[in-house]
Amino acid sequence: MRQGEISLVGLLALFSLYLMWKSTELPIGYIRGQGPGGGFWPFWLACGMLLSCLASAWNWWRGLSPASRSDEPLMDAFGWRTLLYVGGSVVAFVALISIVSMYGAVAAFLFYYLRFLGRHSWFLTLTISILLPIGLFFFFEAVMLISMPQGMSFTQPVFDLMYDIIY
């Protein structure tokens, strides 16, 4: 935990520096007669982020935050594994959208989660992971008139068929 905190503070400080640098593309000063320039607001607030990181680092040095006094690891093996399985599956979910369309990705994600993480029965897994995407399709495309991403071109015939049905 102790190492983790200072690493995070360091990363955030770097990010603040990047934001400050990026803000300087527009004037960051107080323009006479006009008030602050376009970069003023983000620059000085990013500066505030940096300063609060420094304050956090000072607190860490003095051991004031709970994390800085803790010898425990950030997460145990189980925690990391959970994060990998759950967080990783969300990342994979979003990555899949561009390949097999939103609905395909929803089906794949639900299938994986319910079957392998939730250990539910095949019946329940398949029912939810097939019916929910279809339900969502009708809700978004037919009722709400919102087109979801359709993935790569091989999904097109399926969508065209569905559109013939709903319109």
């Binding site: 495309e141 008139l145 969508f159 559109y163 013939d164 319109y167």
Partner: protein, 323 residues
Amino acid sequence: MKLTKRLFLALAASTTIATLPIAAFADGWQPKRPIDFTIMAGAGGGADQIARFIQSVVEANDLTNRPLIPTNRGGGSGAESLLHLKDARDPDHTLLVTLNSFYTTPIRQEALGVDIETFTPIIMMGVDPFVLWVHKDSGITTFEDFVTKVKEMDGEFVMGGTGTGQEDSIVIAYMSGAYDLKIKYIPYDGGGAVAKDLAGKQIMATVNNPSEAKGFYESGDFVPLLAFSDERMDAYPDVPTLKEKGHDFSYYNQRAIVGAPGMSDEAAAYYREVFGKVYDSEKWQGYLVSESLSPLIMDEAETRAYWSRQVQNHRQLLSEMSN
């Protein structure tokens, strides 16, 4: 097993029947998918209002066999929607409702790499003129009064608008140049907010489309001083134009629909027919009159010529502004 096989066959048969009529009886190209109807501005602005009006007319008269899906992509002063069209994955089903940031944004943000002349002209639904407005309590009744007042205040006269590089700022910049006026310009994030702060007398004058100021004009709060149109407007016959004052300048906001680059000729022809019907509809003709839009009917070649003229004009106006 037998059951599922039979079910499958039945499903296949029913879908064939469902698809047949469209395939067999359609004359020419028909959209196969919902039509991406991107709006170059946020929800609630003039462009948005027009897009939703058009969508309503299309829907009410059942003019297309697939729905128009209005989507606001106003980010980066329209840059977001231009990029969306440029990289459209299905150009035959991607349309854009534009305003003049269609011309100005690619000029102001060259890094986008958008060349609007590659886009596909569909239809010009009308052009929206600009008018100079003041509040009735200001006591200003003519454009000459306005010029005297602005000069008197020497840089303290406050006007509101929708931002540097936007339509109204171009008009204000031209007017200031022509009459040697010093104006304090406050940018807002939409025409509605500008009109509201003129009504609340937070600012002293605006250049707004008539549609945005009409309500306050009818209640007598706003006074129109000058129109930036080619001829006097029917709705404001007593308001002189800048042209009459001896300056060869007019400026309109375009209300046009364009297609993505690379749209097929058949698809473009289909949309021209659909929106042509909308244009001719009683509803739209009524809208043109009530919101003081001017018609500007052009075919494809004329539109392309118009575009390149507009790009040149705007390049010049914007470079004069930054000097």
